[in-house]
């Protein structure tokens, strides 16, 4: 046996078959960077001299095959250097594709972006059945496209429709999904990957599909046209990478005979153009912020290894939020008690839990069997049972401070002194709660504020009072991360962060209606701006009663900019409180919503003007939050608003939006 070890990978010859093991000696994961390409190139070069009969590529890492390009190193490159790096990757992968011997990628763990491009350059792919196996092209989510041959090879392997769906959605498939679309040939237990790859090399290779019916110029053009229409409707043209990727991938798929070199050229040019765009900058920045939020410490002084993990939790209150939190906690494998004051309420909560698990099965997140086992983890109770065994309790009862004070005094009796006691309130003062009668150990009280719907919203606000201990905050952070959510630590203050920034914007939108701007125009302006939903439609969704209540609390704290316009009061008193009542700023019947017409001026302001005015409300409030040190930094605000409200990601968030605007004004 002959062996060559370097810092990114190693090549061994076993029974005449070359086994290339990806194993970055310096990091826990494998990434594509300059050194990786250099070593890969030299390893491929050796193959011809050693007379190998085949090549297997696999990884020695526990959870990663090859996680794509190293964005940090790629981000440091500009112009020519970046162009050269793209070309180099294309060439090295192409040299693997051109090997005159059978090649198999044996995938276990994350095989993303550049990792998948390497796997696509192999003739066959097999993958482990492990949960950590994830295969996909996340590039478009960062405003880029696969440019190391991926946009060219994928449509040829899968056919145009499937390739487009993978690339444009950025979806990451598990082994089952990858096998289903034809991305991999077989699913094998992790321990048998190498054995099976070698057997495949020794066996006969099968014929590839040509995808004649989709990958021909006529059909490809039709597919491209209809995809383009859908994309424009969905993104309002704000995400150029999607349109560019659509173009490059469709053209690669149009004629399988077309020269690969020309398609590579298109990939590279598209990439170099996209990487310069503002959108891409913002998306990559948000990606890094999110990565940072996954591990960011609240207090470096706390020894987090000594803190107890949350092995069991309890949720008090089985309403929409309570059952949503309980379901999500169970879905992530943590046993959770779902408590309410009587069986009827608990039953409603258990119905929601069941519905959410059914939905997860429909969306292929869980198999029916997995969903059933996870559902077992939710223990319903209408009795005031002991919570001494619970590491963390989240209260999600009615939004009434006096009620919550009673609940917390009772929780203090029923739980142990070490139990973290959290409230999911979205507006009530947690410091006052922590200081109320009957509270023991107020240092373990804080807010863990989930957004609705819990299963979809990635952001969780960790609300810290002046009494909360750093250990409690770190334990809450660890819990939220264990759920796979992104936590942002905020100071206890009315509305916390996200709702506080959102509220003046919603109030202002209602004021615009009052001043004679049409409902449809206001919402259109913000959809064009890139918000996922117009502000008035959002008000209807929240409920005008709820919004009015929150706004008046905040007016008391911060003054007139939160004062609700008379129109809102009027609608509320008419019982037109939004979607739940069938009418608000819109009329709802069946599945249609029609904007209602209020008093409208003849001249309507321009869409840009409206958007600017409303976006300014958010940016202004965001700046005040930063000044008041509600949150650690401007980046956290941007991340929170994007994840918590869907604030147009390509704009980077309300702080970034403002700073870009002021830069422009300055120049």
């Amino acid at each position: 046996m002959n062996s060559e070890t370097t810092s990114r990978l190693s090549l061994q010859i076993m029974d005449g078959i070359a086994v290339l093991t990806l194993d970055n000696a310096e990091r826990p994961i494998n990434l594509v960077d300059d050194a990786f390409l250099t070593e890969l190139e030299s390893a491929i070069g050796q193959l011809s001299t050693c007379g190998a009969k085949g090549l297997v590529i696999l990884s020695a890492k526990a959870k990663v095959f090859l996680a794509g390009a190293d964005l940090h190193s790629l981000g440091s490159l500009r112009g020519e250097a970046l162009s050269a790096m793209i070309t180099r990757g294309q060439q090295v992968f192409e040299s693997i594709a051109r090997l005159r011997l059978p090649t198999v990628a044996a995938i276990h763990g994350a095989c993303l972006g550049g990792g998948l491009e390497l796997a696509l350059a192999c003739r066959q792919r097999i993958a482990s059945d492990s949960h950590s196996t994830k295969i996909g092209f996340p590039e478009t989510q960062l405003g880029l496209l696969p440019a190391w041959g991926g946009s060219t090879r994928l449509p040829r392997l899968l056919g145009l429709p499937k390739a487009l769906s993978l690339i444009l959605s950025g979806k990451q498939l598990d082994a089952g999904g990858a096998k289903h679309v034809g991305l991999i040939d077989e699913i094998v237990p992790k321990e048998r990957l190498l054995e099976r790859a070698i057997a495949l090399i020794q066996g006969r290779s099968s014929q590839r599909k040509t995808h004649f019916w989709t990958n021909n110029p006529l059909v490809a053009a039709l597919i491209r046209q209809s995809s383009q229409r859908q994309l424009l409707a969905k993104t309002h043209g704000h995400y150029p990478a999607l349109l560019t990727a659509l173009d490059v991938v469709s053209r690669a798929g149009m004629s399988p005979q077309a020269s690969t070199a020309a398609s590579f050229e298109r990939e590279r040019n598209a990439f170099l153009e996209l990487v310069e765009g503002d959108t891409t900058h913002q998306l990559i920045r948000l990606f890094f912020l999110q990565e940072d939020a996954k591990s960011r410490r609240y207090d470096e002084g706390v020894d987090i290894r000594s803190l107890p993990p949350t092995r069991s939790a309890a949720v008090i209150g089985a309403g929409v939020m309570g059952s949503g939190i309980a379901q999500f906690t169970a879905a992530r494998g943590i046993p959770v008690l779902l408590a309410d004051i009587d069986a009827a309420r608990v039953a409603q909560g258990m119905k929601s839990v069941a519905r959410l698990f059914d939905e997860a099965v429909r969306r292929h997140i869980f198999t029916p069997h997995e969903a059933e086992r996870k559902r077992d983890l939710v223990a319903p109770t209408a009795d005031p049972v002991s919570l001494r065994g619970c590491d963390l309790v989240i209260e999600a009862a009615v939004e009434n401070l006096e009620v919550k004070k009673k609940i917390f005094a009772d929780l203090c009796v029923r739980s142990s002194d070490r139990t973290v006691l959290a409230t999911n309130t979205s507006a009530l003062p947690i410091t006052e709660l922590a200081k109320s009668d009957g509270i023991t150990h107020p240092e373990r009280i804080l807010g863990i504020h989930f957004f609705n719907p819990v299963s979809r919203m990635k952001l969780v606000e960790i609300v810290v009072t002046e009494l909360t201990s750093p250990e409690t905050v770190e334990r809450a952070l660890a819990f939220v991360r264990a759920l796979g959510k992104t936590p942002v630590v905020v100071k206890d203050s009315p509305g916390f962060l996200v709702n506080r920034i959102l509220m003046p914007y919603l109030v202002e939108a209602a004021r615009l209606v009052e001043s004679g701007v049409s409902v449809a125009r206001i919402d259109q302006a913000m959809l064009d701006f890139g918000m996922p939903m117009g502000p008035l439609r959002l008000l209807d969704e929240i409920g005008l009663d709820v919004a009015g209540h929150v706004a008046s609390t905040m007016t008391a704290a911060f003054g007139e900019r939160f004062a609700i316009p008379a129109l809102l009061d009027q609608l509320t008193s008419e019982g037109k409180i939004g979607r739940k009542s069938g009418s608000g700023f819109y009329d709802y019947d069946h599945r249609r919503e029609t904007p209602r017409v209020f008093q409208c001026n003849q001249d309507q302001p321009g869409l840009d003007h409206i958007a600017r005015q409303l976006a300014d409300c958010m940016s202004h409030e965001a700046q005040l939050c930063l000044d008041e040190k509600i949150v650690a930094d401007a980046d956290s605000i941007d991340l929170a608003m994007v994840l918590g409200t869907g604030y147009a990601p390509f704009r980077g968030g309300p702080m970034k939006y403002q700073s870009i605007l002021s830069e422009r004004t300055a120049t």
Binding site: A343, A344, A347, M350, A354, R373, D376, A379, P380, D383
Partner: protein, 422 residues
């Protein structure tokens, strides 16, 4: 005997599902889910750390085909750690009691201190079987390789091959004597001269006592959450007929001997789904955990008898237990004899008044105060544990001291146990 102070075995708490008639709300779940719910609730109500449990022992008569060793399946799904072993016990209608007495023996032998015991039965879901001849033909069909072979195998089926064998009926038939349980009840009714009217009156009384005892019974019952039902949960036994009349009972036709018999659906136990779980442990362990037990298991006995007269089992078991403990039924504040059939209970009462059983007569004013299986139902694997739970909760409510429970067991056995408050 396990009465020695050192090794006293106590029942700390217990819960049960409502008992629901076959084909009602529990037909949508199964014995595993029922068992999972009672253990999960027992754990959350008592607040004990699951790690301290030494073993889970559950009774189940008709174990679902997809849950071999159902106790293990239930234990894992209820959230008990993988390291805690679980076993299923089977003594027919006494399986729920067997779970407790097996745990008590384990404890006495020094094999563990803390046990979760109980029983679960879902009679709605007992499967139908294909006849053996049909099974052979299915096997031949699946072995056939060619289309011709498959066709040849397929045409050998006859309509009778598709007539299912009812699993429930098989389970309720004693294979040794070949008699159905109802037929054994008819036999003791004839032997002991128990009239139809006596049986119907006994049944009526059972329904009346269960109706009056709703509030007391509610203390044993936990709500079971069923997201697919409109109310979303069940927390009441649904077999109790609050307006049962003697006339209505008299109108029912005998099931097992249509022309001459006396045993009807009305004076027999109901076929029912349900589960019970008890937390049982060493007395000193309970004390050190700060738990206040409901009571202790004083002693128990099982005894065999004629399978064709299995309903007489309690008399023999009570006598055997008397020989072990010296305790007589008259010393009990409460007595439960499971109501498999009114005829069988009435025959046991007669037998215990006879010379052979001198001094063991049952004081009938203390018998089955909350009714019994005729009103509540008889989920066979769970009933034994229900009797324990029912008497312990009643002792707690009434502040009384001692209880005797007993049941007849298909196949010709009886079981009995003494329980007392500490």
């Amino acid at each position: 005997m396990s009465t020695s102070a050192e090794r006293s075995f106590v029942i700390v708490d217990g819960v049960r599902t409502p008992f629901l008639k076959m084909g009602s709300d529990f037909a949508t779940i199964d014995a595993v889910e029922q068992g999972r719910v009672v253990i999960q609730t027992l754990l959350s109500r008592t607040g004990i750390d699951p790690e301290i449990v030494d073993e889970v022992i559950f009774g189940c008569v008709s174990q679902p085909a997809d849950a071999a060793n159902i106790a293990r399946v239930i234990a894992l799904r209820a959230g008990l750690p993988q390291s805690i072993p679980a076993m299923t016990v089977h003594r027919n209608c006494a399986s729920g009691l067997e779970a407790l007495t097996t745990a008590s023996d384990r404890h006495a032998a020094g094999h563990g201190e803390v046990f979760i015991v109980g029983g679960t039965e879902n009679m709605s879901r007992i499967p139908l079987f294909f006849p053996l001849a049909a099974a052979a033909k299915f096997a031949a069909l699946s072995r056939a390789k060619t289309a011709g072979g498959r066709a040849a195998a397929a045409i050998r089926f006859r309509p009778s091959d598709f007539a299912p064998v009812v699993g429930l009926k098989l389970g309720l038939t004693d294979p040794v004597s070949g008699m159905n349980m109802g037929e054994t009840a008819e036999l003791v009714a004839r032997d002991y001269g128990i009239s139809r009217e006596e049986q119907d009156l006994f049944a009526l009384s059972s329904h009346r006592k269960s109706t009056a005892g709703r509030a007391e019974l509610a203390k044993e019952i936990i709500p079971v959450y069923l997201p697919n039902t409109s109310q979303g949960y069940v927390d009441k036994d649904n077999g109790v007929r609050e307006n049962q009349t003697i006339e209505a009972l008299a109108r029912l036709r005998p099931v097992f001997e249509p022309k001459t018999g006396t045993v009807t659906a009305g004076n027999s136990s109901q076929i029912t789904d349900g589960a019970v779980a008890l937390l049982a442990m060493d007395e000193k362990r309970a004390e050190s955990l700060g738990l206040e037990p409901l009571g202790r298991l004083v002693d128990y006995a099982y005894s065999g008898c004629d399978p064709r007269r299995m309903g007489l089992g309690p008399a023999f078991a009570i006598r055997k237990l008397h020989q072990r403990t010296g305790l007589r039924p008259e010393e009990a504040d409460l007595i439960e004899i499971n109501e498999a059939f009114a005829a069988q209970v009435l025959a046991v009462l007669k037998l215990l008044k006879s010379e052979d059983f001198s001094g063991l007569a049952i004081p009938e004013d203390r018998l089955n105060l909350l009714g019994g299986a005729i009103a509540l139902g008889h989920p066979v694997g769970a009933t034994g544990a229900r009797l324990v739970l029912t008497v312990l909760k009643q002792l707690q409510s009434s502040g009384k001291k001692r209880a005797l429970i007993s049941l007849c067991i298909g196949g010709g056995q009886g079981g009995a146990a003494w329980l007392e408050r500490l």
